[in-house]
Amino acid sequence: MPKVLVDGQPIEVNEGENLLEACLNAGLDLPYFCWHPAMGSVGSCRQCAVVQYQSDEDTNGRIVMGCMTEVKEGARFSLETENAVQFREAIIESLMLNHPHDCPVCSEGGECHLQDMTVMVGHRDRRYTGKKNTHRNQYLGPLINHEMNRCITCYRCERFYKDYAGGKDFGAQASRDRVFFGRQTDGVLESEFSGNLVEVCPTGVFTDKPFLAHYSRKWDLQSAPSICTGCGVGCNTAPGERYGRLKRIHNRYNYDINGYFICDRGRFGAGYVNNKERIDYAGLREVDGSYSAIRHENALATAGQWLNDKRVVGIGSPRASLESNFLLKHWLGPANFSSGLSDAEGPGMKQLIKVLSTTKANVPSVRQMQSADAILILGEDVANTAPRISLALRQAVRNKSFSMAEEAGIPEWQDAAVRNLGQDELSPLIIVTSSESRLDNIASHIYSLSPDAIADFGFSLAARLDGSDIEDEMVCGVADILSQASRPLVVSGIGSFSPDILSSAAKVADSLSNLNKKAMLSLCVSESNSMGVAMLSDEHTLSLASVMEQLDDIDTLVILENDLSRRLDRSALQKLSESKVNIIALDVIENSTLNRASMVLPAASFAESEGSLVNFEGRAQRYFPVFEPARDRLPSWHWLIKLASLDNDNKLSALACFDDVVSLLADSDKKWEEIVKVAPGQTFRDRGQKIPRQTHRYSGRTAMNASVSVHEPPQPKDNETALAYSMEGLNRDQPSTLSPYVWSPGWNSNHSVQKFQSKVDGQHKNQTPGIILISSNQNGFGESVSYERTGALEANNWTLIPIACIHGSEELSSYTKEIAELSGNAFIAISEDAANALGVLDGDGLQVIGGSAEISLEVRVVDRMAEGCVGYSVGYEETLSLAPGQTVRLAKDASWIRSKPHLIATDGASEASLGESLYV
């Protein structure tokens, strides 16, 4: 390793890095603003100024920017020389000219990078007494608050939003001291990654709006390490709580998965935890259909009568923890367990696991996907089903410009130079899907095919890669691109609900692996624990359809955190409602399955319980309770132990704590052996102490409930995990899976994450990134493919394809007010040609007729749609009766009333001037 001299001290540096990174790695505090570990350097803020000496004789040196200076063996720098110190202080002073003195009322206060840097350079007294610039703030939607006066023009927001996340509706405006960051006009930020502005902004220009409405300081938040339940990627999060309310979610650094960024569903979609519709107490259905809240002892007594000597069947859930699902299966037996996956998804998940266990390709982490130099997406709308992966793919296509930069001798972190050199040169991204996607604007090739045709294309492509003589131009072109790549990546998934597409993706990946050992295959799943529950399934596992068929032979049904109305068709739901079966339903929030239940048990949400989730790679990760479940809520695994203990066959009553459940799971099958290593158990101690959930500055603990009682309540005891509801203990170098929040002396903002990393942008110092539970035997998928293809459709017959929406399609997040606001109406997506043929415009209504469904949906005209296909928004209440692959007919709904465009406060005037009549 090269060495450089900093203030006379030799420090070891990594080849090719810049001086700022080198200083941070060496533990030196060098202030900065515009640099970001994931976004590199542009040298615009001038804050990381240091003095560099040209030679041993040079005593004056000259000022250079740390982030723009590559370290070379023997180079000599000074951070502490008067010149550098004064320069850095002057920069802060100049930034402070226009920065308001509003820290006490600013929601960034206490975790503000600008505050930290100001203190770091020692700038205390403001000399400027003139007038400060003021700006008009914009309405940016329900998620992000805008306070432009605080801006210090580091340009990070623009670089993240446009350059990193590919957003178009945001940017820098004006020049000099009038620079403004925002949209052209007020309006909702379109990027699904807009929430990261909250963390990317070094001060309080962009802040978390829902958090602002119920604000607490960072030091007053109680946090725990958690896993996002928004989709199957498994991003790591750090939710914060106070007053029994989930206040906000911040990104929690995980080198392999989310790095520094999460999507808006992950950041803002957990507001349902505070929803008034949450279940507080056990409920028993009366004869008249109404529910009465009952004490949980009474509920259990009643449940006992329904369980003993009865046939009990359990329905699991892809959004419940692995442990809860396992307990349900273990208690009732494999033959009485259903995974709870829909019948459209179940076979696909089975196929997906088979692919992952046999593929010859590498299954990459999100981080590894960024290294791909050619990408093929088969039938998956990644931007909506696994948003964080789409963000990684946006970085991967830049590998072309990185290799151009390497040739030109430009280091990767020279962000502006690399982008200037690369312009729009992108690595190939081939998208083969049924409809448009937000990645289309960076794709080199886009093909719109029906799901069947996508699978056909995949099989032909695999055959071509194997050397078959195929003449199809499209197949040959794609095969050439992929076979020339050094790290090709195939991305597919369950999003099209087509096992054939998965098989074809597997075939392509295997064929590529025969040519190239570095080929990668990544398969997206739909929910946070789809993978876990699919892995629990075996040959005895009942499908939901077979549960419904056997309904008459079942006495009691235990439904674990699963709203069956999202997974069963209407006739099956009707059958369930009319049957005599006793239904015990555990769930977190009111839904239509609970309305059919005989008994409802209040389950704790992810923020109030612990559990493991298995992500799309087969990586098991643990989430921990942020706060104690209120009222009669209990974690589902706890309810299941209580229920099982009522049963005569009392095999679960020996389980005393969560770790016992994990051990039992580990012992149950070889594939779960490693699950005990996912996170340290409750006996873990760091230097004799538990890990504190609260910061050491946590204030007002004893006064928090003074409005109710002046008696100081005891702190809750956590007997289940290695975390404590306390300020006592260290949060420093424990395993990363037990890291509740980041803080380091002098670094109050999330930039303190670098103090937890082994090196800048590197792994956590004590990295425990979860455990990969699926390993491939590398034999290849190898299945010969024979399947039926539906023939050509008759006139005005369309194949339905599912369209996932980042806001609206996921179940629990749509119970969050802000997410519901962004979800918009359920829709039917059609091509422009189809719209012309049907005589409808965007926003009109179309009747969708097919099977048992006859509904009207809003028309959304999309840029591209496969021939003969129409899309529907999945997961919306209105579209629950539609199924992927179903054939439907369409007709214009003449009685449809167009919805008004979304208005914002400042639109009041224009609404009045346009008049109502235009929209009727």
Binding site: K168, D169, F170, G171, A172, Q173, A174, S175, F180, R183, Q184, T185, Q423, D424, L841, D842, G843, P901, L918, Y919
Partner: protein, 171 residues
């Protein structure tokens, strides 16, 4: 219907002449967005300023987001995002002109036209804007009125320049 109406309106914002001039500029650039500044100048030369409608229409024509084009339009002082008078007075307040007494000359202009910096006369003839340098320091103080450079400013010259306006009743 509403969207359809709005779309037709946007398409007809730019005249054929403007569109042709922009298309001619597009011949010279590798990326459509590369012609952004020229496109703004073309439209401004016909209309005096860039309205929101024009901005949106140009951005559509250049296949860039309106937010990106706004960033460019507002970056440059001489792209006007608000209406200006028939002629823009660019009054130099830089070092050479300042040494040669531009402050007095500016006062005179303001008095004659009854406007300050950033303002437009009531008859919509003139807008007064400061400019850092006009490259004519040897003849300071200077100003530009429309396309005409007026040098060695003094009270008489200023009065003469605006004499037509002075005769009108608005002043």
């Amino acid at each position: 219907m509403m969207e359809a109406l709005i779309q037709t309106d946007l398409a007809s914002v730019l005249t054929n002449e403007e569109t042709a001039a922009i298309d001619a500029e597009l011949e010279h650039v590798p990326y459509k967005s590369g012609a952004a500044i020229d496109a703004l100048k073309i439209v401004q030369s016909k209309r005096g300023w860039i309205s929101d409608e024009c901005l949106t229409a140009i951005s559509k024509h250049l296949e860039m987001s309106v937010d990106e084009l706004e960033g460019i339009a507002t970056f440059y002082n001489l792209i006007y995002r608000k209406p200006v008078g028939e002629k823009v007075i660019l009054f130099c307040d830089s070092v050479s002109c300042w040494i040669c007494g531009c402050e007095d000359a500016k006062e005179k202009v303001s008095k004659v036209l009854n406007i300050g910096y950033g303002e437009t006369t009531a008859d919509n003839k003139y807008t007064l804007l400061p400019v850092p340098c006009l490259g004519a320091c040897d003849r300071a103080p200077v100003m530009m009125v429309g396309d005409e450079l007026i040098t060695n400013l003094d009270d008489a010259k200023i009065e003469a320049t605006f004499s037509q306006s002075l005769l009108s009743e608005d002043y």
